[in-house]
Amino acid sequence: MKTENTTTQAPLSATEKKLLAKVQANVKPRPAWVKFFMNTLCGLY
């Protein structure tokens, strides 16, 4: 596997922070009826 030297978890840029906030803004408080698959991955589809 090709690797490179870098610091891990580089901080997010302003643009990346804005985009992450957009993702998170689509989450509403979880209704009681939501069964959360804590151990089951639910991706985009």
Partner: protein
Amino acid sequence: MQTTTTSHSNRLCEKIDLAMPAVQSITNEVLSHPQLRELFPEFLLRVHWLIRFSSPLMTSAKAECERRADSDEVSAAMIPYLEEHLLEEDGHDELLLQDLESIGYPREDILRRLPDPSVASAQGAMHYWTVHHHPVAMFGSLVPSECYQTSMEAIDFLQKRSGYPRSAFRTIELHSELDKEHGEEALKFLDSLPLNEWHHEVLRVAALNFLAGTTQMYRELLDQFPVD
């Protein structure tokens, strides 16, 4: 400053992982929805809006890689990967149309529906970065789609709750099975590329923008099915 060694794929996935709790929260909300039977065909329609753009995006990426290949090592390396992956993805959008037809949704109606601005914006941006910035940008949608697939356990739950026949789930089942392998191949391939900071910038931004658009698409779907 202490430095550690990490791969290209880990660097991208670290950023995607920041968004995944939100993505999973929304998809869990879809799976658990009290009106799942009514909501599910609309969910599949949106998956079709996403999947139908996979091959066109890779075709555009391949053409751009070929144009740049003589002077761009990353583009040159992407060509054989794209040739193989285009074959692997071929026909998945058609299969999803058949899945929807199997539960009473004619393809003519599906194809006449105007895709939401959220998905058009997300995919349009991906195409823009891929063609006009660098083709490696396409991994910004490929990695979140193929490396974070829905589990078979969740699909079984979805079928049981919705009451639809298994024929409606063929594409997402295929995605769940095949993309374990495709996802690993994609990450391994990314790690083989001679990427630098410039490439990583577009990968991160493209991935987060794609997830912003797709989560917005699902949020707007859920808002169409309010629960008292």
